[in-house]
């Protein structure tokens, strides 16, 4: 490439002091080098803890203390950036380098209008004042594809959608015509359909304004669609770099290969993700035996285990002194059946009511209208408390947020078996060995049963959550976005685990996700939801190959596609 280098990062090492009295240090970045030429879009990919965001912050001198740059150089247009004073940095931030944050709703100041914030950015970084700044603000918003630009300037951030807010953040970032924009996960907080158009705006801006962009993301699909060149990082170390298509399709390093193998594909449904998993050294037979010993009172035919009929949920905000009664229909007249041993997926964007359905089935929310028939019995009709309890315990849930779904004051083992002990389904000394058996079944170490939840990573906690659900020998598990808080490779191994468990114990899963590719990999039947209504319901193949409803089609076309 003959383009002049814009930004050069050479052997950058950033450390955090840690341990007692800060004697040890943790290397957030370890000799990472990046080159960037004018109006190039490069992607920095990696899982959590890879040090992606640290690069962006280091360029702008925004590292949170006690992190510090130990060695290496950063040069922007032949100007060294390391060691600048706060004042010198201020003149670079905004004027030469713009920054785009992950969550647009928190990046904007909620008590100022959009206009005040955009104009403030213009006046701080350019010589424009008053009328001309105002006109420039309108121009910037139009460039960032914000419709009704002049009206929007008078609005407050909470009055606009997430996608619009992110476009306004773009407008602020390009206010002073910077040469480089660092975008830190700019579309992670947005829905797929919005993500698509926001990314297009970003690419357009880069071309029009001749801005180079560093796109920091964990989403391989986003990189495939936007970036020319990509760097792969792992634990602060550089793994691989190259032209996007060649790195993604013909990765040379083992880590990159594994990463690509764990990205869920929309093209075809795989039996399992091809991970080179280490063999589970633990003995899982005891756990298997426990789960297989469930009462075989019911035949394992393919009869419907769960029928949901005309289910509706209306949330009522009661009238108060200041506001009249407010009704919000979260779920509107949804019906479906789930057959034994099958996985049914519910996919939809945020606010589509997909989680609410599951919460109603589990009895965490009251049902406004309709009925849930589980194992041939309407849950409302069971009056006897004991029978109801037995009925309900065979329905379990795996939650979305691994950081809040375990009781932080109980050890992993106690979290798993507390409920059984409380119901006197097992006595105290057996509980401990059962917890260990279940932990080894979900791929954790037996001896870790005594540790508290904070000693585990997100993926491990999610496994504890699965073990807790399994402890009741359930027939039916509701999975509420179980992998959305996790890295792709962790997600892949967890999805593999769920598939294994399902095969071994003929579990029935209701799988909720916003991620079409995950649904594609996991589910036999798929329900597409929007604003509380079911738009389409069909088999996996039909939904993804011949989508009928226009909404499904738009969802599919908005998915960032990655084809290895």
């Amino acid at each position: 490439m003959s383009k002049t280098p814009l930004l050069k990062i050479k052997d950058l090492t950033v450390t955090y002091p840690c341990g007692p009295e800060g004697k040890d240090e943790f290397k957030a970045l370890d000799r990472v080098s990046i080159n960037l030429s004018t109006s190039q879009i490069i992607g920095i990919v990696g899982e959590s803890g890879a040090g992606k965001s640290t690069i962006g912050k280091a360029v702008l001198g925004l590292l949170d203390p006690p992190a510090k740059v130990v060695s290496g150089d950063i040069t922007l247009l032949d100007k060294p950036l390391i060691g600048l004073s706060e004042e010198q940095y201020t003149s670079i931030r905004g004027e030469e380098v713009g920054y785009i944050y992950q969550n647009p709703m928190t990046a904007l100041n909620p008590v100022l209008t959009i206009g005040e914030q955009v104009i403030e950015a213009i006046e701080a970084n350019t010589s424009m004042r008053g009328k001309s700044a105002y006109k420039h603000a309108i121009g910037l918003l139009e460039q960032s594809d914000v419709s009704f630009a002049e009206d929007r300037l008078k609005k407050y951030p909470h009055q606009l959608s997430g996608g619009l807010c992110q476009r306004i953040v773009f407008a602020i970032a390009i206010a002073a015509k910077p040469k480089l924009i660092i975008a830190d996960e700019p579309t992670t907080a947005l829905d797929v359909t919005v993500q698509q158009s926001v990314l297009q705006t970003l690419i357009k801006l880069s071309k029009q304004e001749q801005v180079a962009i560093i796109l920091i993301t964990h989403d391989i699909g986003v990189v495939a669609e936007t970036c020319d060149y990509v760097y792969v990082l792992k634990n602060g170390k550089h793994v691989e770099q190259g032209v996007t298509s060649s790195v993604l399709q013909r990765p040379t390093q083992d880590y990159t290969k594994a990463l690509m193998a764990s990205v869920p594909l929309i093209e075809k449904r795989l039996h399992r993700f091809a991970l080179n998993q280490q063999d589970n050294a633990e003995d899982t037979s005891a756990g298997l035996q426990y789960l297989r010993a469930k009462e075989k009172s019911e035949t394992l035919t393919k009869d419907p285990i769960l029928e949901v009929c005309n289910l509706s949920k209306v949330f009522i905000t009661p009238s108060s002194m200041f506001k009249p009664k407010d009704l919000f229909t979260a779920v509107n007249n949804v019906s479906f059946t789930v057959n034994r041993g099958e996985t049914v997926g519910i996919v939809g964007e945020s606010g589509s009511g997909k989680s609410t359905i599951g919460r109603m089935i589990l009895g965490l929310e009251d049902i406004t209208e309709g009925s849930v028939i589980y194992r041939g019995k309407d849950l409302k009709s069971i009056i006897d408390n004991k029978e109801r309890q037995k009925h309900c315990l065979s329905m379990q849930c795996i939650f979305q947020d691994p950081y809040s779904s375990l009781n932080p004051r109980m050890s992993a083992g106690e979290n798993i078996t507390y409920g059984l002990k409380a119901h006197k389904l097992i006595d105290g000394n057996k509980a401990k060995s059962l917890a260990q058996d279940l932990m080894s079944l979900v791929g954790l170490k037996k001896q870790d049963a005594d540790k508290l939840p904070h000693a585990f990573s997100g993926g491990e906690r999610q496994r504890i959550g699965i073990a807790r659900a399994l402890s009741y020998r359930p027939d039916f598990i509701f999975c509420d976005e179980p992998t959305s808080a996790l890295d792709v490779s962790v997600q892949a191994s967890l999805l593999n685990l769920l598939k294994d468990l399902q095969e071994q114990f003929s579990l029935t899963l209701l799988f909720v996700s916003h991620d079409l590719a995950v649904i594609r990999q996991m589910c036999d039947q798929v329900i597409v939801m929007k604003d509380g209504e079911s738009m389409e319901m069909n088999t996996n193949e039909n939904i993804f190959k011949q989508p009928k409803s226009p909404y499904t089609q738009s969802l599919l076309s908005a998915m960032p596609v990655f084809n290895p």
Binding site: P66, G363, F399, Y418, G419, A422
Partner: protein, 301 residues
């Protein structure tokens, strides 16, 4: 016994990160422990039992500090009008002051925590009744409420504990409710509900241990507040009975002699009161700082 030592070492481990590197807080903690020790063992370490009329001699009355008493012992801090050794009265007074404050805080906090948890868990009219009661209490000046209570109940150690409890429970209930409400949004509570656990189990084993931290941080501060309030009430003469004087009452006793140059009768109990409250406040401040994530990050820099 070994269990007790184990518990003690766990306590030590939790205290270490809070206090290490903060010499003033450590001094406060040591001072507080010293005061508690004196209070607990006062009957054994005090030079005389100031309320045993057999050992008092009216001839020893109003002696300045370091004087010799009739029976040959030294009154290090002087004596009062009826010949009681001030050092001993201060020790006994400290005992009563701390006892009253500890009881009031322990009972008041327990009531507040239980009510706060109930309000969060039950919601509906239970919550309304409890929280309106809290509002009602908080909208009243605490000392006035205590004065009214004592006017109705009469004086006595038990009565003043009741009066102080009224002052303690409300803020605890409010804090527990808000922290329990934010815990209840978390998914582990949902998981417990799906498991069909009874409400009392969810309350006791899931909500309580996870929402009590901010309340515990408040405890030392209420303790010093209660000591101060009790001293005020006793000084005003509506607190503890004259036969069992606390620090506040001792200060009031010496008040009449202050202008005639007999300063020691009031000054020594007053000094002890100030030091005690200061020690507790220093500890309380440190504990609060340690638990505040915003102050914490500044702390590390």
């Amino acid at each position: 016994m070994s269990k007790f030592i184990e518990k003690l070492s766990i306590l030590g481990e939790t205290l270490k990160p809070i206090f290490s590197g903060h010499p003033i807080a450590i001094a406060g903690l040591i001072g507080f422990i010293l005061f508690v020790f004196i209070a607990v063992f006062a009957p054994w370490i005090a030079p005389q039992n100031p309320y045993d009329l057999m050992v008092l001699d009216i001839m020893d009355g109003l002696l300045p500090p370091l004087s010799k008493l009739g029976n040959g012992t030294t009154a290090w801090l002087g004596t009062d009008a009826v010949g009681r050794d001030i050092l001993s009265t201060v020790m006994y007074g400290l005992r009563l002051s701390l006892f009253v404050a500890f009881m009031a805080v322990a009972i008041g906090t327990s009531i507040g925590v239980v009510l706060g948890l109930l309000a969060a868990l039950k919601g509906g009219w239970v919550e309304s009744v409890i929280m309106r009661a809290v509002d009602l209490k908080v909208s009243f000046p605490g000392i006035l409420l205590a004065l009214m209570m004592l006017a109705i109940l009469g004086t006595g150690v038990d009565k003043i504990i009741y009066a102080l409890i009224i002052g303690v429970w409300a803020s605890k209930a409010r804090l527990t409710r808000s922290s329990a409400l934010s815990e209840m949004k978390k998914e582990y509570i949902d998981a417990a509900e799906i498991s069909g656990l009874p409400r009392w189990r969810i309350m006791l084993h899931f909500l309580l241990p996870n929402s009590i931290a901010p309340v515990l941080v408040m405890v030392p501060m209420s303790l010093s507040g209660c000591i101060g309030a009790e001293a005020t009430l006793s000084f005003l003469g509506v607190g503890v009975p004259i036969t069992e004087p606390s620090l506040g009452l001792l200060i009031a006793n010496g008040n009449d002699y202050l202008l005639s140059g007999k300063w020691w009768i009031s000054i020594f109990p007053g000094t002890v009161l100030v030091l005690l409250v200061l020690c507790i406040n220093v500890v309380a401040d440190r504990v609060r700082e340690h638990n505040n994530p915003y102050l914490k990050s500044q702390d590390q820099q």
